[in-house]
Amino acid sequence: MAGKMIEQERYTCAIGALQSVVAIPKALPILHSGPGCGMMVRGFFERSTGYAGGSTSPCTNFSESEVVFGGIDKLRKIITNSYKILNSDLQVILTGCTAGIVGDDIDSLANEFREIGRPIVTVETAGFKNNNFVAHGDVVNAIIDQYTNKFIDENPVRSEKRTVNLFASIPYQDQFWKGNLRTYKHLLEQLGFKVHILFGPESAGVTEWQQIPRANFNVLVSPWYGQSIVEHLKNIYGQPFFKFPHIPIGANETEKFLYTLLSFAEENDTPLDYKKAKLFIKHESAAYYEELDNLATFLLEFRYGLPNYVHIIHDAGYVVGLAKFLLHETGIVPKEQFIVDNTPEKFQQDIRTDLKGISTKKNVPLLFEPDAGKVQNIIRDITYDGRGLLIGSGWDKELSKEKHFDFLSASVPSPYRLVLCTGYAGFHGGLRVMEDIFNTVLASYR
């Protein structure tokens, strides 16, 4: 992923995908890396230790002798002793730059443990090769290939017609991942699906991972990250995938997400009670608009100042999802938008097209630029009449102050905001975004 320099990074390197392991109940990341990788990742995400991340994760802590002579022997000892010291259902070895350059053969080592029945997976996550958006897919695919596949006999491919595997928010990189995944699972269950959510407290842990092949098809809620997973599953198990290209926030996009998903399910012979499913969507939508009706008077009549335009600095899924939501469901107009997730070029056109669909009357300028320091300089030079809102990471708090913007922290790194299981996806997620924005605005009146 060679690229230009980055100021104020909003994502981390490949080994940051160790957080995807941390997010699987009772899974253990084992780092074959330099001594600092784990703490860099922990420091980036903060409050992200989970079951066995952070200071709990075993690590070979490369020193000069491992750089020169290789670190396989040390890794073997550490894995052996990990089984004595820590309880875990699945172990995933992740390599850092040091092991990557030295060229340690971790897969042969892992085989020694697999032969005695250990559920152990290896994945290359040298930081110079990829970032964590990409490596998340590599981690998931490695687990599927090296773990899930071993249980294929008990889990016949596409044997459960109503079951789907869902891939959406990247754990920890999307700070609303827990809430969003819970929402997707709930919504889909109400439509009649059984959902393998795979990460977080709503996941059944490794048994759910074993049952991935059973699903009739896969659901991807993402503009690009995670697509390598559903493509891989299509290749190996023939499971088709349904893709919704941004985060469905609020009623319009959530309805669209659920209705198009139902159509896809119907085309793929999924035995659901479609009438009942559609009634559920109608009911949720009505409840949502009851809130919006209450809020509309405030939005239209509040005399002391509300933001009327917004800049968003986020990953592609949020930029498009939030922009569409804010324009249509709160009346805040998206001005220049910035995608800082290092979107691969082949996905950029589709994302542009998706954002273009926001309105026939508007053209929202969009820039793909991982160098967020550069993005901030661009925003510094833009001026509009009225009150501005900036949605970004903790890095953007000072810029907001400088520009007199209202500021909503909604991406990592997030030193100024705690997120536990709040989600922004779905009907309720939209309402929560409104609460967060307008509470921030109201808090400015003292």
């Binding site: 390197c13 980036f44 002793n81």
Partner: protein, 490 residues
């Protein structure tokens, strides 16, 4: 190789320069005895967990210089925790009278596979130019990383060339993680860069300025120094490139934490002629007495020191008695970096608690000042007696967990992130004070004592957490003796 040689781009890591170790089991007294008799040999662990990186230690000292920019030359991940220092800078600015804290300028060269094959020197040069153009920084620090070091990028040459081109100091700091298991080597690397490229030989001498090498804690020294008619020059958080360059002009240097400032304190004395106050920092009554006396002596104002000591003791010792009465006999366990760990061991015992053990991240048998006088562990053992279960342990959580399980102390005192959780998981009240100045001096003992009483008495939260929390450690491990994997037998 001299221990301090400012003509060299790199400083040796602590293992080779000071003989520092990251593993030891025994009592504090035994360790002190070993330290005084040549090199001690650390044992190897056959199990280890994530430790820490020299990069973040070097970075915390250079990122908080008001008008400098920092480039991490490596993959994007090697700079990913540095946003924490941007937060620190902003939040603690009022403590240091910085009214308008500016955005910290932190960059990554973001090297990829291509650079690991063809080298990243050109990209670094290009980045330095762009960073200068964007920030107009007064100095730019370049931190090395594991990847850049292994592929052999010549960071020193690139930075020297760009320094000539741009006309500002461009300082290479060699702090890649794999070089040292003692992550505080990163402090030394950062200070080495500052000493060799920023600090200028003194043209004048200021008798009213004392260098204070510290983190970003509250400003206690201005008030303390005022009685002596001197003021602090804080190094390096909230300093400027200009103020740092004049550090050579001060009358003396003190350290809030010798683990932090060992190298720079010695470099200022040996290379720039600024005497260093070598007695450990003022934690505990006895050491506070000594520290004020040493300060008075070096400034030629001993009578003022005696006056301060007498006045402060008259005010605070009666309060201290009351606090002691409430803490007497409680059992404490300490986990912290070396020097601050030693400080906490003095503080807690001054307050009447008993130290049942400690997990201290590393041990420097001697500091760069090369004198036994600076040995804070020896001092706490002399002043307050030996400490059993003194474990030198580089944040190995599994050993800490095992220790806490066996010792069941009444309170856990920690300094670094991630460790208090394990006290709480066992229902043990746990306290982390980030501000290293909080417990300093006579008044600090009162502050810390009150806080400690509050923490021990209000244990409802940790007791509840202990009932419900997850514990990934096996029962087998919890029943083993804590040093099982230190012997290398298993």
């Amino acid at each position: 190789m001299k221990k301090i040689d400012l003509t060299m781009p790199e400083v040796e890591v602590r293992e080779t320069r000071l003989g520092s170790i990251t593993s030891f089991q025994g009592s504090a007294g035994e360790l002190v005895k070993c330290s005084g008799h040549g090199r001690i040999q650390g044992k190897k662990r056959t199990f280890s967990q994530c430790i820490d990186c020299s990069i973040s230690k070097a970075a915390c000292m250079v990122t908080l210089i008001q008008d400098a920019a920092v480039i991490c030359h490596g993959p994007v991940g090697c700079a990913s925790c540095l946003h924490e220092f941007a937060f620190t800078y902003r939040v603690n600015a009022p403590l240091r009278n910085v009214a308008h804290p500016t955005q910290r300028r932190i960059f990554s060269t973001n090297i990829g596979e291509e650079e690991t094959v063809y080298g990243g020197g050109d990209k670094l040069a290009e980045t330095i130019r762009d960073v200068y153009k964007r920030t107009q920084a007064k100095a730019i620090f370049v931190l090395s990383t594991c990847a850049a070091a292994i592929i052999g990028d010549d960071i020193e040459s690139v930075t020297n060339e760009l320094e000539s081109e741009l006309g500002i100091p461009i300082i290479a700091i060699f702090c890649e993680g794999f070089r040292s298991k003692v992550w505080t080597s990163g402090f030394d690397a950062g200070y080495h860069g500052i000493a060799r490229k920023l600090i200028k030989p003194a043209k004048t001498h200021k008798q009213d300025v004392i260098n204070v090498i510290n983190f970003w804690g509250s400003d206690v020294f201005t008030q303390w120094f005022a009685a002596f008619g001197v003021k602090p020059n804080y190094i390096t958080p909230y300093s400027t490139v200009e103020s740092l360059s004049h550090s050579s002009e001060a009358a003396a240097t003190i350290q809030a934490c010798p683990t932090l400032g060992s190298y720079l304190g010695a470099a200022l004395e040996q290379e720039f002629g600024v005497p260093e106050i070598k007695t450990p920092p003022p934690y505990g009554v006895l050491q506070t007495d000594r520290w004020f006396r040493e300060l008075g002596r070096i400034l030629g104002k001993s009578e003022i020191a005696e006056q301060i000591i007498a006045e402060k003791k008259a005010t605070y010792l009666p309060q201290l008695e009351k606090i002691r009465a409430r803490l007497e006999g409680k059992l404490a366990y300490v986990t912290a970096g070396a020097a601050h760990g030693h400080a906490l061991l003095s503080v807690l015992r001054e307050l009447g608690l008993k130290a049942v053990g400690a997990a201290i991240f590393h041990h420097d048998p001697i500091y760069d000042s090369n004198t036994q006088k600076a040995d804070a562990l020896a001092q706490t053992v002399r002043d307050y007696g030996d400490i059993p279960n003194y474990n030198v342990c580089d944040k190995q959580e599994f050993e800490l967990v095992n220790m806490l399980h066996h010792l069941q102390p009444d309170v856990l005192l920690a300094r670094h992130g991630g460790m208090t959780l394990w006290g709480a998981k066992f229902g043990i009240p746990s306290l982390l004070i980030g501000d290293e100045h909080f417990s300093m001096g006579y008044e600090g003992l009162i502050r810390y004592g009150k806080r400690l009483i509050e923490v021990i008495e209000n244990d409802e939260f940790v007791k509840n957490l202990a009932k419900h929390t997850a514990n990934p450690y096996t029962n087998w491990w919890l029943e083993q003796e804590p040093y099982t994997f230190l012997k290398g037998k298993k």
